[in-house]
């Protein structure tokens, strides 16, 4: 496995507004390493979410190249991109997007079942992932019975349970209070350090900077600065969940 998990060159994305086009990404180059927490920071409208969407295979860029885990992502067919995300990508959103009908355990297990695990395997892995985020005692609670922090932890468990090598987080803490925000941030960090995932976190929460290995500032569709806070440590053998 190469140290570079995700690489992009010359990403351009335009959106049509009325008769004119707004260029949201103006030729962005990007790189993320395994085991790193990379923060993408910038004011709203700076294009950071669009960048993440293009990097993760959710939104096709107008030009540019994304190489994720040594695969040219946008050369794949849509079905293959779905499969790639299923196999390798985790997502954490600002709104937790949990099915109100499902218990914490079911939320996580549903995704695992789509990944091809058997019912009991999915259950076991889901339980493990929820225990890892500190929800071992809340397995059968539905979202309505969970606090905001707990909901985000369920969402994190859902993203981590399939052991992704790329973890995308979009403002994961902005709906949470300080304490829960810290818990969530630590979980992201652990995903990077213990599981060797490349964590790409979009935020404008300055509190998160302390946890980053690398901070990228983006504004008006261009990267302003890219600085490494901590030296890169490449885990040689990633510790896999349940492995």
């Amino acid at each position: 496995m190469s140290a570079i998990a995700l690489e992009a060159h010359g990403l351009v994305k335009r959106f049509k507004t009325g008769r004119s086009y707004v260029e949201v990404l103006k030729g962005v180059d990007f790189q993320a390493l395994h085991g790193d927490v990379t923060m993408v920071m910038g004011p709203s409208g700076s294009g950071k979410s669009t960048l993440v969407a293009a990097l993760s295979g959710l939104l096709r860029p107008d030009s540019g190249m994304v190489s994720a885990l040594d695969q040219k992502l946008w050369d794949l067919k849509p079905g293959r991109i779905d499969r790639f995300r299923l196999d390798h990508c985790g997502f954490i959103f600002q709104g937790f997007n949990l099915f109100s009908a499902l218990s914490a355990l079911q939320q996580v297990a549903v995704v695992l079942k789509y990944k091809g695990y058997s019912k009991s395997e999915a259950r076991d892995r889901a339980e493990l992932a929820l225990t890892e985020v500190g929800l071992g005692h809340r397995l059968n609670q539905r979202p309505a019975e969970l606090s905001g922090g707990e909901k985000q932890r369920v969402a994190i468990a859902r993203a981590l349970a399939k052991d992704p090598q790329l973890l995308f987080a979009d403002e994961p803490t902005s709906a949470l209070d300080g304490e829960n925000g810290q818990v969530v941030t630590r979980l992201l960090q652990r995903a990077a350090k213990q599981h060797g995932a490349a964590v790409i976190c979009v935020t404008h929460d300055p509190r998160l900077e302390a946890f980053a290995d690398r901070i990228i500032h983006i504004e008006d569709g261009l990267i302003l600065d890219d600085r490494r806070v901590r030296p890169a440590v490449i885990p040689t053998t990633p510790d896999l969940i349940g492995a």
């Binding site: 709104g95 997007n97 099915f99």
Partner: protein, 380 residues
């Protein structure tokens, strides 16, 4: 438990409109089928509950419902005794007659046409329905005695013991029957002797259809085939269940009823699909972010479509259960009002298939809404 089923159970209020729409679509059709079948049942109850194993009818007659003259040449009756297993043959004569009551002062006079059915009053006679009590049988032995179902008393403007007129000849209500309601046309039961005295029934060289009792009822179908093989086109033998089914089928093919039912099916389908698909769309839209997050995590669009189709299937199943419940309620209501209802299996199966088709069609129509589940929209 699957995602679809869990969602349906947890958010049942959201799906209630669809379930009720389906239930009423089903009820709309089944209640009519039940009513029309009930009319047939009422009209042929005297035959259905008789001791006859076989019915002999003219060869081209396809049922007892609007299928031409049921008269047979009188020579057929002795002919049937040629078969060694035939125990008893009797003709089932019937007629229509003008009914006039004798109203008490201040009551309304009733003049209407009634169906006149006939039974033999000898104990154990083949034409005598098995559920007639001994008192009814004895009462009908009296000349000019008639028996009427309890539900027809009011309609005919009489009570037990009253005199009335059939085609201008005086008869007396001597017995009340239970379980012979007929919402189509009131019917009156008399003995064969009374029928003769009233000058009704088939005359000269004709008889009505023949009822045949066999020595061994378990050989009914074999004897039917043997009789038919020897009929040379003069008659056709039917088993009782066979005839009952043909009667039901014939009524459903009546043009006006066909139009009623066809229109109901069409309307039920339209209402069902309209409401169910809108409900499903709303319910899916309410969960669209959750679906989008599944998409982001790599669950394919095909898998999500399957979730929606499964969801609509379960809505259909629940709707079916609600239909059963509603229809049973209507059935009980009808029974308490003395109106017989029947639910032929093919129609019940057909409505079940229709409801599942409606819900699946609605699900397919709601699939388009999944296009809104753009995971990129979740990133803001």
């Amino acid at each position: 438990m699957s995602l679809a089923l869990a969602t349906l159970i947890h958010e049942w209020r959201r799906y209630l409109a669809a379930v009720i729409a389906l239930a009423f679509s089903g009820l709309l059709i089944l209640a009519q089928v039940g009513m029309f079948t009930g009319i047939v049942k009422g009209a042929t109850a005297t035959i259905d509950r008789s001791r006859a194993d076989l019915m002999i009818m003219p060869p081209k007659m396809e049922s007892l419902i609007n299928s031409g003259s049921s008269a047979l040449p009188r020579r057929i009756q002795p002919l049937l005794y040629m078969h060694p297993e035939v125990a008893e043959v009797a003709s089932f004569d019937g007629d229509g007659a003008r009914w006039t009551n004798r109203p008490e002062p201040g009551k309304k006079a009733v003049t209407t046409f009634v169906q006149v059915n006939m039974v033999d009053t000898r104990a154990g006679a083949v034409t005598l329905p098995t559920d007639y009590s001994e008192t009814v049988r004895l009462a009908l032995m009296e000349p000019y005695a008639i028996a009427i179902d309890r539900t027809a008393l009011k309609r005919l403007g009489v009570k037990l013991g009253d005199a009335a007129a059939l085609n201008g000849r005086t008869v007396r209500v001597r017995a009340i029957l239970d379980g012979y309601p007929d919402i189509n046309q009131a019917s009156v039961v008399i003995s064969r002797d009374t029928m003769r005295m009233l000058g009704m029934g088939e005359k000269s060289d004709k008889t009505g259809p023949l009822m045949v009792r066999l020595k061994d009822p378990s050989r009914t179908e074999i004897v039917r085939d043997q009789l038919n093989a020897n009929a040379k086109g003069a008659y056709r033998a039917w088993t009782r269940p066979e005839l009952a089914k043909a009667n039901e089928g014939a009524l459903m093919q009546e043009q006006i009823i066909g139009i009623f039912l066809g229109f109901s099916v069409f309307l039920g389908f339209l209402i069902g699909v309209g409401i169910t698909s809108q409900t499903l769309r709303g319910a899916i839209l309410a969960n669209i972010k959750e679906f989008a997050s599944l998409r982001a995590l790599g669950v394919s669009m095909g898998s999500l479509r399957l979730v929606v189709v499964e969801l609509s299937f379960w809505v259909g199943v629940v709707g079916l259960a609600a239909t059963a419940l509603f229809t049973f309620g209507v059935y009980l209501l009808a029974q308490s009002g003395g109106m017989p209802m029947g639910f032929p299996i093919p129609w019940v199966v057909g409505v079940a298939i229709l409801l599942l088709t409606i819900s699946l069609a609605s699900g397919l129509m709601a699939l388009g809404i999944l296009k809104h589940s753009q995971p990129a929209d979740l990133l803001r």
